[in-house]
Amino acid sequence: MFCNIINPRDVLSLFERMSDEDCELLNIADRPEKFMITTIAVPPIAIRPSVMMEGSQSNENDITERLKRIIQVNASLQQELQDMKNMAAWDHLQAEVGLYINSDVRGVPYPFQVAKPLAGFIQRLKGKQGRFRGNLSGKRVEYTGRTVISPDPNLKITEVAIPIQMARILTYPERVNQYNIEKLRQCVRNGPYKYPGARMIRYPDGEMRLLMGSFRKRLADELGFGVIVDRHLEDGDVVLFNRQPSLHRMSIMCHRARVMPWRTLRFNESVCNPYNADFDGDEMNMHVPQTEEARAEALMLMGVQNNLCTPKNGEILVASTQDFLTSSFLITRKDIFYDRAAFSLICSYMGDGMDLIDLPTPAIIKPIELWTGKQIFSVLLRPNARMRVFVNLTLKEKNYSKPKNASERELETMCPNDGFVYFRNSELISGQLGKATLGNGNKDGLYSILLRDYNAHAAASCMNRLAKLSARWIGNHGFSIGIDDVQPDNDLNERKRETILNGYNSCDEKIELYNKGKLDLQPGCDAAQTLEAVITGILNQIRNETGQVCMKKLHWRNSPLIMSQCGSKGSPINISQMIACVGQQSVGGRRAPNGFIDRSLPHFPRQSKTPAAKGFVANSFYSGLTATEFFFHTMGGREGLVDTAVKTADTGYMSRRLIKALEDLSIHYDNTVRNASGCIVQFLYGDDGMDPALMEGKNGFPLNFDRLFMKVKATCPSREHKYLSPVEISALIEQKLPESESTPDGGLSDASKAFKKSVKAFLLEEHEKGSEIIMKFGEDATVENQETVIRVAQKIGGITEGQLRAFIDTCMSRYHLKRIEAGSAIGAIGAQSIGEPGTQMTLKTFHFAGVASMNVTLGVPRIKEIINGAKKILTPIITAELDRDDNVNIARMVKARIDKTVLGQIAKSIKTVMTSRLGSIVITLDMNRIEDSQLCIDANTVRESIMQTPKIKPKQLQINVLDVTKLEVVPLVDRGKLHFELHSLKNMLPNVIVKGIKTVERAVVNKGKEKYKDKEGKVKEREKYSLVVEGTGLQEVMGTEGVDGRKTKSNHIIEIQQTLGIEAARWCIIEEIQFIMSNHGMSIDIRHMMLLADLMTFRGEVLGITRFGIQKMDKSVLMLASFEKTSDHLFHASASGKADKIEGVSECIIMGVPMQLGTGILKVIQRDEKPELTYASDPIISAY
């Protein structure tokens, strides 16, 4: 063949002759000859600086080196052109220019690969350190600091202590006015090195003076209004405080500065949680905003006070931790009593003795005055009568003793362990406070309630007071842990030995049974799996039992016990590991694997399956581990370490992708969620337009009615007010919550109507409960005491008009306050809310899908799958509901229809029959078997199945049905090949699928339970069967007879989209993410998931959050370039002449302009042309 390589020059001339119409057809923005480089751009020295070394040597920039080479090659090319030689330099020059632009361009013809190639232009742009990500999307800034952090409970939660050394370097430009002139004069006099000083003066005419010299005194005296002094940081200055990794917006918050001696940055421990900081050597960063606008915005939007709860789910995040919980727990013990001196001292701890405190009446007046610890908390919440804070809450702490059976009634406050916390009008009625009340991660704790019912300041000041109180109290009380805390006594040792011995014995029994092959198999498992499951169960039982015993035996003053009870640190498992038994070590979710031949370690006999040989650690950390136990323990430990290391990289990349995809979504003033180009992603955020950060109820419901009702009842005392009669109540509800009302909020009316309905339903239910009680009392009363009895009954179940009105009013007004604000960057918040929990997911990657040995992927891998919109997922599972779900046999029948059945399973025999004339294969079906598994198969259907298997080449076969159970397959080939053909047929025929769905791996009948109401309205349980199908093929499964297609689900999003459409896929994404999160014990507001699902589906197909999917979400070039494949996007954009409107977040950051969300959504409109001003009298008047 003739092959002609076109000369670049020819190409250039071809391009030059191309007509403009053709260019348009090819979607080329400019003249195509510009694709050919005829001249190269040589950037100025500033772009490629040369670094001077010692002496006369200089280190040149890579670009300079490249240019040098190009010039060299060019020179030699010129030489060759004159000599008319072989022109090798031509190719050489071509390659050099290519390398100049992209140093790892492929197809460099000659071996010029050096160890470290010189960077080309593309290398400067791309990658994490490249221009786009390293210098444009994130920049180096001034006015920052970083050092080690340490705790200080005496600081407010909104403060951060800044070392004087740092405060001397960081400055804030303050403008001189009549109020601060004396202060700033002193600062100028002090100069840059003495603390309350200043570094620079800026005059209105633009002149700047550094305050280094001796002329400071003169400058200070001449200081005039309007001059700007860059003074040192002082108390109360606004600083931003941050700790990496910045996974969510609470990783950078705004504090007030407190300049203090020593060298660490300090803050209140209550704020550790949002930063995820501890004090084992962590360092944190701080930034000083330099303008008043920046300060105001930082305080309002990023202030600690305004970020007490997380927008992930509305739970409180800034809350008491560790020692604060421990001391609160100890103070509120039931048998803590203080005399007047001690009580007053403790009361003065919390406010530095500066608060006005009303000393409460002592709980015990006689024989001696004694106050209880709980009264300290009442003082803490409401020190004096002028504080208008009335907290009302009920809560169950960890040690609340639940009723043993359902018929017994809840003990509530009378719980013998004092585990029921009840605050009534800021008075602690009962309960020992622990993590549920004071800690983070809940919605009805003390601080949440202060925040919701009052304001952030109330919650913050309460945290401040508790921090001071507990730090000082526990300093006097003392709290430490020693070896005697983890010493088991003889009794415990005996009990532990007994439990372990029993466990070992039953393990041995099971192993014996296994060896004999008599072990009862668990459904869906083979013998080895069953044995593993049984033994694991027994061993876990051992640890639990020993743990429980030692928890029960410990004295209440035992420090680890106290810590685990109040939730400040450690769990019962940790304690029992220290005292009793470390327990089974697992590697990869199994017992220790065999590292040697048939055994885990050479210390054990081969094939040994005893607990000790497979990693059970019977010793405690106190008693010490044996050599083999220690080895197994390190195996488990290493797995954990490796897993965390791997996971951080994975989740980090996932978060980055999520952010890039969602960053420009924001709420607009019409309540829609739109992306930067104004394309609508959701018509109403989260279907109700509520702010997830402000949700009080469970599952993202706006309010917790029960709590609010209780609060209203407690804060609006009935006193002399009349209780309402049932008729009056109904009338009032109807009046306050009318059925139809034209709502002014337009688009929200649907959602608010639904909310109104729920308020009404709640009130009616409460009303019914109340009237039932009154009825009961009324029936019981005799004639003479009827009145008094009814009065008591009304106190229990009645409601006054004031209470009812207050309740409805608060509900409605609060509901409207909880609407999300226009401008919220809800996309970024959603991305963070999904990305951040990913980092906390443990290595639990599998979960039983109801049926043994049928697992679904969980954790980070599964989230990745969903977000990527993967076409092929690890564990596709279809759950199919049945038309008749109460019968096992029917369920089995349907299962058989779905399950893949091959010919080999139902054939009695597949025989080769050779006669002298022809050979054939005769298949005999096993009809008993077929009937047993209720398949509808006979010879005819088998024939059809064989005909439909292309692998067998059915066209070359003749298949004869001999009778119902028998058929004959005759290959139609020449006699020479016949033997081979028969042989291969015989091998292939048993694998022919005769029944079921090809893509299905297997199907299992799942027995579940369902609650239903019978005719009398009683709740009953019944057995319910469904099918769990491993594999794909949703359409076929839904079409199978006996399956209720309307209720059949799959976890394969792409498949759902293909069979059921895009809306089903959207809902599937939401449900699947929710499923993963709930399995890891994390709650995330459903609105975030909805937004993500909407973003993935709003184009009409499922777009993964990958570079391919994000490309299709009409993003701008700069955003795509700053994400991945920088150079490709830039080249493509220049070829097709794209314009970038700079409206997305990334683009705005790159260009350094304010973005179109948050406070940037607003602009001031100004008239373009000047209005014509006529400096004359009005024409109407002047006409006359």
Partner: protein
Amino acid sequence: MIILEDVFKVERLDPDGKKFDKVTRIEARSERFDMFMHLDVNTEIYPMKEGQKFTMALASTLNPDGTPDTGYYTPGNRKSLADKYEYVMHGKLYKISEDDPGRASKGSGKGVKAEIYVSFGGLLMMLKGDPSNLHQFDLDQRLFLCIRKL
């Protein structure tokens, strides 16, 4: 002003087992109104034994003339109701409720009973009795509990 006064007999100490060093929960039943009571008592300073009889009064104020309590604690050498008693606690009534219907059906069958709950700074009292005896109690009422052994 005394709202309720009756003689109780301690039936049991710590019905759910001993949980606290200084505080004991006593189970007592009254003689006159047949009321049932759970009460947390600081037994370190005021020991109580099983079978002991004591008279208990609940008053809304300690002033002998019945002037209402101000809510502020102003101790002094004034005459007070407490003089006649050995053990006096101050607390707040936080809950009025009906007796559990499940237990009432299998219990005495005397009909519905009312319960009042009072917290003396965390030391709790649950008093169960006939509603007609408890009608003078109100939610959020400040109460003084006075005990004298017989």
